[in-house]
């Protein structure tokens, strides 16, 4: 195991941010930590790279107790923080140089590595422009480049693609896959379920500092819901009358007027609704169930669900 989190809790005053959480990240996987705002994702990551001390429990990274030898552990991993921390007055190249020195890289290795990362994250067009003049997408790519300076065996990415346009996100995903193919273990958090589903081999859904469930995205979908989703608008009052007589097992989830019904084969339900509507063709969406449905089903759909 690259990361072993065993029964870890973290208390901030009265607030229990992480509650007896356990995780195991095997070597070479892309592991996703999903959860609503305030679920404890960032706190968990901070404990893993050793800047937040757990109130109880132990964490081993590369088999090393992080509380014992944080320097060794951190020399072998990289972290992209949720908020970019860049030196605004310096160019990407200079930022990489300063950061490389934190890892004690020296010339000529330092310059070689900077060149590689500028190419890998496609930063070359603005490599010498002060960071404050760069777009959000550029800055985020630079932040990720910084975290790769030391060729980490474990890359920790806290919401790597938040606020990025679709093209940049796609490009980043493919970089992350390349890294993974090269043997890097990736541990990321995200609020984008499509990202988690496409990128992660394994996800853990956490809420209120606890792991609610974890597994392969496709397994979570089958275990909690069903393969297909029928989605349509329907008033809450209408729901029971409309679905009266539907006998097949199904899960339901409501967000305002929107009703989502999960089942293995949508045909029967569609026929039922068409019959109920008596020729009035209601707009129905039939789609494969995705991780977002599981996420909503497990963590709740109201804004109060997070905090």
């Amino acid at each position: 195991m690259i990361v072993e989190v065993s029964s870890v809790s973290k208390r901030f005053g009265l607030r229990l941010a992480v509650d007896d959480l356990s995780l195991e990240v095997p070597s070479g996987v892309c592991f996703g930590l999903l959860g609503p705002n305030g679920a404890g994702k960032t706190t968990t990551l901070r404990m893993i790279y050793g800047v937040t001390r757990p109130s109880s429990g132990t964490i081993r990274v590369f088999g090393i107790d992080i509380a014992r030898d944080p320097r060794t552990v951190r020399s072998r991993l990289g972290v992209t923080l949720q908020q970019n921390v860049l030196i605004e007055a310096l160019s990407p190249e200079e930022n990489l140089r300063v950061f490389g020195r934190y890892h004690l890289l020296r010339e000529p290795e330092l310059s070689r590595r900077i060149g590689e990362l500028i190419a890998f994250l496609e930063l070359s067009s603005h490599a010498t422009v002060p960071v404050k003049h760069l777009s959000g997408g550029f800055q985020r790519r630079l932040a990720i480049a910084l975290s790769m300076m030391n060729r980490p065996e474990l890359l920790i990415l806290d919401e790597p693609t938040t606020g990025l346009d679709p093209a940049v996100r796609l490009a980043l995903w493919s970089r992350i896959r390349e890294l993974q193919a090269g043997g890097t273990t990736v541990l990321l958090t995200t609020h984008y379920m499509d990202e988690a589903q496409r990128l992660c081999d394994h996800v853990a859904i956490i809420s209120g500092g606890k792991v609610i469930d974890e597994g392969k995205p496709s397994d979570l979908i089958v275990n909690h819901l069903a393969r297909e989703t029928v989605e349509f608008d329907c008033a809450p009052e209408e729901e029971s009358a409309m679905l009266n007589g539907v006998s097949f097992p199904s899960h339901r989830l409501r967000v305002g007027r929107r009703l989502m019904i999960y089942l293995d084969d949508a045909t029967l339900l569609i026929n039922h609704i068409r019959h109920y509507d008596q020729g009035d063709r209601r707009a129905l969406v039939v789609r494969p169930t995705n991780l977002e449905d599981v996420f909503l089903a497990l963590t709740g759909t109201s804004l109060e669900g997070g905090q």
Binding site: V51, R74, G78, V85, I87, A89, L90, R97, R101, L104
Partner: protein, 255 residues
């Protein structure tokens, strides 16, 4: 203690890289300040005060002002600049994702503040020496005093900065702490000629007094036993405050 010198140096290096980019603009004011003092005292105050402490007023002022320059150089760095790196730029949060530990951050920042004290104090000394106010070669003994003053005020400033949560509080630090120090630490008038015995003892608490006394001795070229007390004061206060700051920086960066 858990300092890795090479990591601490990389923290120092970050600040140096940023400073070097605009070094002309950073270093120029350091030359203007002594020139203004010389002008004001030379054409103004000096005409009324001809002698102080057995020498011309200018000669009396020179060693103290070198220490004040060192104090200011270090103080700006560990107050406003340090606070901005800590709270706004989050520079240390980035460092802590690498093998750098909070102790390295502290060591690197103190070293950088000493560097700034040396630049500032050094420029001041250069101007003073140029106009013949520093008796050479004995005045060169002030060179070890400048980093010592820097060290002392780095420790004081960092300990303060780690305890406050609002950048506005630095105006208190400057007006209620550094300014009175500047005015009452034997820089402008010889304390022993103006204060009673009892008050002289109280004045020994003032941190700036000690580097000033060392600098004065350097300029005069004479050593005395009391300088050992000054040295001990500087090192002891620095140690105490840095021990305190170690806990503070851990608390701020690792919660």
């Amino acid at each position: 203690m858990n300092i890795s010198p090479s990591h601490a140096f990389s923290v120092w290096r970050r600040n140096a890289v940023l400073y070097r980019r605009t070094w002309m603009w950073n270093i120029l004011p350091n030359f203007f300040e002594p020139v203004f003092y010389l002008l004001s005292i030379g054409i103004g105050v000096g005409a009324y005060i001809t002698q102080m402490g057995g020498m011309s007023y200018m000669e009396f002022l020179a060693p103290g002002l070198v220490c004040v320059a060192a104090m200011n150089g270090a103080s700006f760095e560990v107050t406003y600049n340090f606070f901005v790196r800590l709270s706004y730029q989050k520079a240390y949060d980035a460092m802590l994702t690498t093998p750098i530990e909070p102790d390295d951050v502290l060591a690197g920042e103190v070293l950088w503040a000493i560097t700034r004290a040396c630049i500032y104090g050094g420029c001041f000394f250069a101007v003073i020496a140029l106009v013949g106010l520093a008796p050479l070669p004995s005045a060169l003994w002030v060179f070890p005093v400048i980093p010592l003053a820097g060290l002392l005020f780095a420790a004081i400033g960092i300990a303060f900065s780690l305890r406050i949560s609002n950048i506005d509080l630095f105006s208190f630090y400057f007006t209620l702490f550094l300014t009175p120090l500047f005015l009452f630490s034997d820089v402008f008038f010889p304390l022993h000629e103006r204060l009673s015995e009892g008050w002289l003892w109280v004045a020994e608490v003032l941190p700036l007094l000690h580097p000033v006394r060392l600098a004065r001795a350097a300029f005069r070229g004479e050593a005395s036993l009391i300088l050992l007390w000054d040295l001990a004061y500087i090192l002891a206060v620095t140690m105490l405050l840095l021990v305190w700051a170690r806990r503070g920086i851990r608390k701020r960066l690792m919660n």
